[in-house]
């Protein structure tokens, strides 16, 4: 059985190379092959759904090959899991990995409701089986001007939305993160850093876009708590904070939903939050970014790399915003 799975992973993977990837960004073949071998090893023991229902520890998770595998050097697992923004566990970058040990991601249910014909509450096992799990290697660009390249495991959000049959009046999708003050020490305090629960939203066409996924794992394992266990949103052409973590509610609605960071600072965080090097955040120029975990130079300071419009996914998503002024709808 292991053999078969290894074989499967060593199949040539269809790599998309959008025109906007510079040759200098591409990973050399030898590095790439080593990485695939590492991933194959990491994934080889995995079985979808083979997760102890009560365990909070990371469990193996496999995915079928995806066409959305970016050919860039992966950000090391350690960086992906120790450098996080998940304010429910604290505002420091290492707070989520240090403070999320008591969070119990399982058992888990998510409720999908609102303007749908078949509202329902699904448990974790049902979610995992809902669509084929895919491995997708995406860039993730944080609004704070740093970025990573992460191998996610998940499936298109559309698979879930189709199941609940959105009504014609549904225009947006609203998401909410769980609120568990006893397990999430970042919640509360004298100055609540955000108006909990954390909220996010997408236009329905954005939610249905093939690049938009519900992720259940990364690097061949289920999501660690600090990365949004047990399930999170990944929208690779938007700033990272749109990728809401530990989702418990998904509602189809007619009006543009409120979103946590937009409520906190509307002048800084818009509803769309598409990665856009031409539109600066008041505090960060968005023209360049620092790739986390890149070696070379003192302090791993490989310098900055130019930020791409729509985080490099413009070819696939720019048409969603035709006719919009993205300096206003930022």
């Amino acid at each position: 059985m292991l053999e078969i799975r290894n074989e499967q992973l060593r199949c040539p993977v269809l790599i998309r190379r959008p025109a906007d990837i510079l040759p200098s960004e591409m990973t050399s073949r030898s590095v790439y092959m080593r990485r695939r071998e590492f991933l194959a090893g990491a994934l080889s023991a995995g079985v979808v759904g083979g997760i102890a229902a009560s365990s909070a520890a990371a469990a193996p998770l496999t995915g079928v090959k995806s066409q959305y595998v970016l050919d860039e050097k992966l950000t090391p697992l350690e960086d992906v899991t120790t450098y996080n923004n998940f304010y429910e566990f604290g505002t420091g970058k290492s707070d989520p990995s240090q403070n999320s040990g008591n969070f119990k991601p399982l058992p888990w249910t998510v409720t999908i409701d609102g303007l749908v014909n078949k509202p329902q509450t699904l448990d974790y096992d049902a979610l995992l089986k809902l669509a084929p799990m895919e491995e997708r290697v995406y860039r993730m660009r944080c609004v704070e001007a740093w970025s990573m390249v992460i191998p996610w495991l998940g499936f298109p959000l559309k698979a879930l939305l189709d199941r609940v049959e959105p009504q014609g009046s549904a225009k947006y999708v609203a998401f909410e993160t769980i609120v568990r003050p006893d397990q999430m020490p970042g919640i509360g305090g004298f100055f609540p850093v955000l108006d909990w629960p954390y909220r996010e939203g997408l236009r329905l066409d954005e939610a249905n876009h093939p690049l938009t996924i519900l992720a259940f794992g990364l690097y061949g394992e289920t999501l660690p708590n600090q990365n949004g266990a047990p399930m999170r949103l990944v929208v690779p052409w938007k700033y990272g904070f749109k990728g809401i973590k530990s989702i418990v509610r998904i509602s189809l609605v007619e009006e543009q939903p409120k979103t946590a960071w937009n409520m906190q600072a509307p002048s800084e965080y818009g509803f769309y939050s598409n990665v856009n090097p031409a539109v600066d955040h008041p505090r960060w120029s968005q023209a360049t970014e620092r790739r986390i975990g890149e070696g070379g130079g003192l302090f791993g300071g490989g310098g900055r790399i130019p930020t791409l419009p729509f985080n490099g996914y413009g070819e696939q998503v720019a048409s969603l915003y035709a006719g919009m002024d993205l300096t206003k709808d930022y």
């Binding site: 100055f191 302090f299 791993g300 300071g301 310098g303």
Partner: protein, 204 residues
């Protein structure tokens, strides 16, 4: 053995520079986590604020407890400047790779960087005029000039608050301490100061 003030003064510098040198060393050996440049940048900035706070504490400590450490205030103020300068150098060199156009745009366009630069300009001015020659040359104006430390501390606190998202506690704690130390200066003539003057050698 009692250490002479001269030795203590040197110790203030030597000890005061340790956190910065240690953090830099950790960065060189790749022990600062996923984003070492940011960690170094933030650590140096926080130490600048801490030394600003220590500098501002000298007067209330003298007034309220009777310990006169004023001879070490210059060292503490200079340490604040060194850390602020190193904080800026990290941003300029390691973070922005000496992209002067980007840094210039940041200073003009981003309020938190504008405020931070203003604080750095003040601290630089005070550091340059911290020597005996400047004190003699500037006379009464030296005291007036060096009251800008209050403004530098306030700007430093605002810089930290504006640099973060939302309202995490740490910048608010620094701002609160600095606010208390600045408000202390606004109190009416302090009685305790006279007590110190009346008892110049308060050993019980």
């Amino acid at each position: 053995m009692r250490l002479s003030p001269r030795i203590i003064n040197w110790l203030v510098y030597v000890i005061g520079l340790q956190p910065g040198l240690w953090t830099f060393y950790l960065g060189v050996v790749d022990q600062l986590g996923a984003d070492p440049v940011k960690v170094l940048e933030h650590t140096l900035g926080e130490w600048a604020l801490r030394f600003l706070i220590l500098t501002l504490l000298i007067t209330p400590i003298r007034d309220l407890i009777g310990l006169n450490w004023i001879r070490y205030r210059r060292a503490l103020g200079l340490l604040a400047f060194y850390y602020a300068a190193a904080h800026f150098a990290t941003y300029l060199i390691l973070d922005q790779s000496l992209d002067l156009a980007a840094v210039g745009a940041d200073i003009v366009k981003r309020p938190f960087i504008t405020v931070g630069m203003a604080a750095l300009v003040i601290l630089t001015t005070l550091a340059v005029t911290s020597n005996g020659y400047s004190i003699r040359k500037l006379g009464v104006n030296w005291r007036r000039l060096h009251r800008l430390i209050y403004l530098a501390a306030a700007l430093g606190a605002v810089h930290f608050i504006l640099a973060v998202k939302s309202w995490p506690p740490e910048p608010l704690v620094y701002a609160g301490i600095i606010a208390v130390l600045l408000l202390y200066r606004l109190l009416p003539k302090r009685r305790s100061r006279r007590r110190v003057v009346a008892q110049p050698n308060p050993r019980g």
